[in-house]
Symmetry: C2
């Protein structure tokens, strides 16, 4: 603690392994904002360099935080107010640095197990439970670009269920990750 | 084990506490099918009594299991093939009874803590880890009707994060529930 999450739309891979900017998925914003609120994150950074996508995120956020949605659903408003739109990860890190007066520990996540050396959940739990600021990044599309993972301080081990299958949505993967970091023994 | 999950679209509450049939959310189908596959569920029952909604679910399933989607994304196809469309919970239970030659233990979930006596995760984990068949039900909209919860064998305790806020989406709540049942110590 203090703890942040980020949803990366660039640089991420498409199905063919090419680096792309992914498009916003409305329910990603809602689900991750509600998770951020549930697990006590300070902010939920939505990282997307495209101006029209940023405008879309701000419109969705605005509807729930200041518009009709705030009146319709106060709980949703509370969650969506945690969203902060930034063009790059660097911008999010700068904002955290200013607020926390220290650089946050950068923790990447990936479903694949060939992206580099990983650390187990208990290790990252120690970090987020310490006084140090930390940000956990989740990738959209076919996952974060290798360069971004390489720049992270740590790469969290992939989520494995009871089978070899590990193709979860970013929404459900983020839910499991946060629950494991904050509530598992 | 054997283990089943069900997503209830009727009877559920709307915001005003009236019993309604909720509409299908495409990403609920995808996210819960992928969770079912990840955590080893035998089947994912989508419970909705409306014929047009059932047709919609079958079309989505068909696209991914037998159509273009199966070619495009084999992993998704594998998950979506677990979907079974039924009109009522009773229909799902009948199907399980025939297959397992025993009635499954029926476990309801709810975000609220005023729905009746609840049981903790370790208790339900014992059940799903035993040889008995079990089905865990997740409600859409503002949650399952009280009558349905009353008919269940057990009601699982609500998911609480690190704050008092417990307004997760059914997608992320199902993810956390399954991970806690199958992977937490």
């Amino acid at each position: 603690m203090p703890f942040y999450i980020g949803l990366v739309h660039y640089p991420v891979y498409n199905k063919r392994g090419e680096v792309i900017v992914s498009a916003i998925t409305n329910l990603d914003l809602h689900d991750l904002a509600r998770l951020a609120r549930t697990y006590g994150a300070e902010r939920f950074y939505v990282i997307n360099p495209l101006i029209d996508q940023q405008d879309l995120i701000r419109r969705i956020r605005g509807h729930w935080v200041g518009g009709h949605g705030a009146w319709y659903n106060k709980d949703r408003s509370e969650a969506m107010s945690l969203i902060s739109v930034v063009s790059t990860l660097e911008e999010a890190l700068d904002e955290i640095r200013v607020k926390e007066e220290t650089a946050p520990i950068l923790i990447a996540t990936d479903a694949r197990n060939d992206r580099g050396e990983t650390v187990p959940y208990p290790f990252v739990r120690e970090i987020v439970m310490s006084h140090r600021a930390a940000i956990v990044l989740f990738g959209t599309a076919w996952g974060m670009a290798k360069e971004l993972i390489r720049d992270a301080d740590y790469l969290l081990e992939p989520i494995m269920g009871v089978s070899e299958y590990n193709h979860l949505s970013v929404r459900t993967a983020a839910a499991i990750t946060l629950d494991r970091l904050f509530l598992q023994n």
